[in-house]
Symmetry: C2
Subunit: 152 residues, 2 copies
DNA sequence: CTTAACCTTCCAGCAACTGAAAGAGCTATC
DNA sequence: GATAGCTCTTTCAGTTGCTGGAAGGTTAAG
């Protein structure tokens, strides 16, 4: 056993190792150790502990963390990740549920994109009308201060 | 103008300067009273107090709050609002500064839009490839779990 | 005088982490 | 076996921008 102790960190990335310390899991999942501990706090992934108190992650727990990392990267909230995970772990799940979930998320993202597009257009318009020299008059500030004669 | 009735009655008798309680400022600015108090906590707008301890907003303080409301609506952070306000209140400000600020914000918003577009496309693609029936296989979950054979 | 609508402060919590402090454990090297 | 230099532990606090609620004081109206 002692042989593997340091090799875990250096070499063994993909082999089926019995258990992993948080540092290794952090490395292979790409999640900061802080975040992984936080995920334990919120009961997302609760690893066993070694005698010395160190967290001890199984391969499947590491996989779960990687799953969460991907789902978060796709814009799912932690709670949504929980739902996805339970669907993932449910052998009798309906993929229809997951599809519905994903499409709802798509609609939410698209709404947000529309809002941001409006913001960007408004700001850009204001900036274009701003002469950008040292004269004190500025359409952007005028607009913000509610001076209606500033724009258009 | 019904809003002002009570306040006018009360304040005009005492002084020519119109000052407002938080409820009135909330109404005319559209910001919740909670938010306005929070803005005092973070030293954005610190009103005087009446003898009874009530907050007493001047017209210009109310204007500042309206300014902040608009700027927040345009996606500026509180700290950015602070900068905008100091530019606004600086008689010698260069509108170039404001323009630069706004254009930077536009770029940030556009970056965010691009990210969201990618997310939306990925999710949408996965959903389209999901048959959406009760079979347990689901490309979305397969993708999240890192199964490369799932997609394409 | 009572009641309702104001106003006040303080405490707590949301999401999803991140930083820092203080201490214990482990490993490599001398 | 001492020591340097990692990794690991817990706990508290902070981030951003608010929002909710409790407990209580003030004011206006009927």
């Amino acid at each position: 056993m002692a042989i593997f102790k340091r090799q875990l960190h250096k070499n063994v990335k993909k082999s089926r190792v019995l258990s992993m310390n948080i540092g290794l899991v952090s490395e292979i999942s790409g999640l900061p150790a802080k975040t992984i501990r936080y995920y334990e706090d919120i009961a997302l992934v609760k690893p066993a502990r070694s005698q010395n108190g160190y967290r001890n992650y199984s391969q499947s727990e590491a996989d779960t963390l990687i799953f969460v990392k991907r789902a978060r990267g796709l814009g799912f909230t932690i709670d949504e990740c929980r739902s996805l995970l339970s669907l993932y772990q449910d052998k009798n799940r309906a993929s229809a549920d997951v599809k519905k979930f994903a499409l709802l998320k798509v609609r939410q993202i698209e709404t947000r994109i529309k809002e941001l597009n409006k913001l960007s257009a408004t700001l850009n318009h204001l900036a274009q009308n701003c002469h950008g020299d040292n004269r004190p008059d500025c359409p952007i500030l005028n607009e913000l201060s509610g001076d209606k004669s500033a724009d258009e």
